[in-house]
């Protein structure tokens, strides 16, 4: 982090009424809503283009119960920025080549007004254009290639932001919509990046589809789309699952795992993705020609554990991933929609506070709105908090695992048969699934073994190597300014990153993290070395290794074309 500028700097700094940091869905919604209240709003985005840094699965939901949805803030969103609506939703329980599939369209449709697949480069850059137009009208605007590197303080109070590219900027409201690994949340002392249990890691491949292949292979019209989820033993013992979503002419195929589980199993994220891509079940959809357009990765916060109840301090409010507002509703992931809602609520809170003559109450008002609009309940369900105490206890999970695996358990599974599908489709149940092996691995595996059919298709996909994947990405390397530094290079402190980093692997020399053996005075030591060039800025090593971690300067680093 840069040294904090003096109070004198703060006094004669440029001023905007509101500064929004980050042009993802949270920032875009906040800025559009602020502009609609006539607030002079400056939006700062570090990417060369909005979306060039962002990764989602991604299905964006418009919830019936939500006070704001993206299409209501941005007219034409679905037609111009989204891919296909998801009209069919399936969950596949996998054990070896046996698969038991459930139709969970009901769960998907619960509280859903609509849901579209999106690719973030297209979506975010479209949003950014609208945002710039809207905010320009009220005296602000949107700038790309500007990285905010910290909070501007005056006598200890947050009064604005500092940037790599610009002089300090003062504001009456600072909206941190800077996503997961929010440097502003960290600077404000609202988030630490300490516990792997609090995060998921998502890894994704965007795969090209020949014309007409999606309609043919998935049995949909050109205005329909499909979502598939995968769980069971295809990821060994790592807790998490896979997804496949249909875009207009491509597929988004990826995995989302609990970071602590990834670390504990020393799993290689790209290999887990490959396990999904090469499973016989996917042969019917991938065909014989596999062309991967982009490999990407990003951390995802687990709102059940980290969503802040009071996401504000002084003039700063946090929205979206920055505030941990990323809900894993069982297998269904909802981050973008909550970021949109939170962004708009923060704007609403500021406008109300201003009308009452005291903008300093905006933060408290925003937190109140998150509660009264029911957002907080979705993010941190009380039932989960209660269930967690028992559910995530290791002994309890061992017990349920053994129960599922026991003869009684197996018999019960068979007896449940068709009703299991309904059980899985229950939003009530899916909200309180504990983070143990049971729901992710043991149960799906058992279901597939007991009820599944073997898949006989042959999958011929040969995914690219990690080296090829890195080679296909676009980078603008900030030579001489690595954005991550190893604070402790010992294997104990930082070794986990070698496998957990999605562009590194044990035994692979071309990634970010490498294991090295150093011989000194006859003794041998294993240490870790880091080269940030291939970094995709996922945030993993900020948490699993001992690093000084920042985002690259504006416009530098990786540039996603799909996202």
């Amino acid at each position: 982090m840069s040294s904090s500028p003096s109070d004198a700097d703060a006094a004669d700094a440029e001023h905007y009424e509101a500064v929004v940091v980050g042009a993802g869905p949270g920032g875009a919604a906040a800025a559009a809503a602020l502009a609609s209240y006539g607030v002079e709003t400056l939006v700062l985005e570090r990417g060369v283009d909005a979306g060039s840094k962002n990764v989602s699965g991604g299905l964006i939901y418009a919830e019936e119960s939500a006070p704001y949805t993206i299409d209501r803030l941005f007219e034409g969103f679905r037609e111009e920025a989204a891919e296909r609506p998801v009209t069919d939703y399936h969950l596949h329980n996998v054990a070896g080549d046996r698969v038991k599939s459930f139709d969970i369209t009901d769960l998907h449709e619960h509280d859903t007004e609509w849901c579209d697949a999106v690719l973030r480069r297209k979506m975010d850059s479209w949003l950014a254009e609208r945002v710039h137009e809207l905010t320009r009208e009220t005296g602000g605007g949107l700038l790309t290639e500007v990285r905010v590197n910290g909070l501007l303080r005056e006598q200890g109070e947050i009064v604005g932001v500092t940037c790599d590219e610009l002089d300090p900027i003062r504001a009456d409201l600072v909206v941190a919509a800077d996503g997961v690994n929010s440097e502003l949340a960290r600077d404000a002392g609202l988030m630490d990046w300490a516990e792997p249990e609090e995060w998921f890691q998502g890894v994704k491949a965007v795969v090209d589809m020949p014309e007409g292949a999606i309609e043919e292979r998935f049995g949909v019209d050109d205005d329909e789309g499909v979502a598939h989820l995968f769980s069971g033993d295809l990821f060994d013992d790592v807790r998490g699952g896979g997804f496949l979503y249909t875009n207009r002419d491509t597929l988004s195929i990826g995995t989302v795992f609990h970071l602590d589980s990834l670390v504990a199993e020393q799993a290689e994220p790209h290999e887990l993705l490959d396990a999904l891509l090469t499973h016989p079940l996917l042969a019917q959809w991938l065909g014989d020609e596999y062309e991967e357009l982009e490999y990407s990765a990003k951390l995802v916060p687990d709102s059940k554990k980290v969503a802040l109840r009071e996401p504000h301090r002084d003039r700063l409010v946090l929205v979206g991933d920055a505030a941990g507002q990323m809900q894993a509703q069982g297998p269904i992931i909802k981050g973008m929609n909550h970021a949109v809602t939170a962004g708009a609520l923060a704007a609403e809170a500021y406008a109300e506070a201003k009308a009452r003559g005291d903008t300093r109450t905006a933060g408290t008002l925003y937190a109140e709105k998150l509660r009264s609009e029911g957002v907080m309940d979705k993010l941190r369900p009380r039932r989960y908090e209660a269930a967690r105490v028992v559910g995530e206890n290791d002994r309890a999970s061992g017990l349920t695992d053994r129960l599922v695996d026991s003869r009684v358990g197996r018999g019960a599974l068979r007896a449940l048969g068709g009703r299991l599908e309904r059980l899985y489709g229950s939003p009530y149940l899916s909200m309180m699934v504990p983070d143990t092996r049971t729901p992710y691995v043991t149960l799906p595996t058992a279901i597939a073994e007991e009820l599944g059919e073997p898949i006989t298709d042959v999958n011929t996909v040969e995914p690219p190597s990690l080296e090829e994947r890195i080679g296909d990405l676009t980078y603008d390397t900030d030579i001489g300014h690595p954005h991550i530094r190893l604070r402790d290079a010992s294997y104990e402190a930082s070794g986990a990153a070698v496998s957990a980093c999605p562009v590194s692997a044990e035994g692979f020399g071309g990634g970010c993290y490498r294991t090295e053996t150093v011989r000194t005075n006859g003794s041998e030591e294993t240490v870790v070395s880091l080269d940030t060039q291939p970094c995709v800025e996922c945030g993993t090593c900020a948490i699993v290794a001992d690093t000084a971690w920042e985002h690259p300067r504006g416009g530098k680093g990786v540039e996603f074309r799909q996202g």
Partner: protein, 331 residues
Amino acid sequence: MAPIHTVVLTKGVPDFREGQVSFDENGHLERGKTPTVMNPNDKFALRAALQTRVRHGGRVSVMSMGPPGYKDVLREAMADVYADDLYLLSDREMAAADTWATSITLATGIEKMAAGTNEGDGRDEDAMPDLVFAGFKTADGETGHTGPQTCWCLDMPVVTHVVSLDIDPEARTLRAKRLVEGDIEEIETVEAELPCFVVADPEFVPSYRTASHRLELKDLRERTARRAEAFEDHLTVWDHSDLNLDPDYIGLDGSPTIVSSVDPIPKQPAEREATVVAPDDADGMTELVDEMLPFAAGASGGGGGAEAVADGGRTGGSDDRDTSDGETGGE
């Protein structure tokens, strides 16, 4: 305070990348046969002008002298630097002019432009532009004289090798960092009064450290995208009679430079000399011109060149502009 008016001088150069530069038997470049692009070094002058425009508002005009094909160069300039208006000084009489003849013509063009366009800007009717920018050397073997020579004709101080620039429109001064190359590269800061002529160094770096400047830049880009498509609506073409210039003093006839041989196409300029000369510093100016002569005149035409230079200077110089107008007015 009147808004700042900035003029950028640019020229086209043969596109060397194509590798099809051709010369006629007299050693003159056959521009018609070689694709034309903007002199790469002019981009730095354009950037300096853009920075001025973004920070202080006002108007940017781009001027070039050359064949009708230079219109493309001007369009490129408009798109790159978001220029407001374009001027092309083009005439068969002006063809094959060397740097002196070019300088006289450009200086006359600038004066005419200034006189004709100030009204709507709330500036004094015949006020000269506040700033004239030129690039460091051209890529086709020219030696960087057009700039200083034009400024001499315009009676403005010149600051060369500028790598960064700040303007105080209230005090009407300019503060520049310039590269002084000796054994080691040195940066010196100089101040000059407006109007001033600025030669931007290839290492010129514009800086936009405030959000409002960057937003202004973005606005300009959007507005100019549309303007550049219809750039001819913003283009004024003048020939020698529009400029009241005597054909004897311009074009090939007015060129003291006789090209005796053509050097290989220069790559990055290797040597740079530092020059800040005020127009009333007679010694300094003489020294500057002396220094440039060997380049301008070529090996065999050195002596004759010097005289022609003196003539040319008088004809186009603004001190005796009335006379010069009178002389050529009868044409």
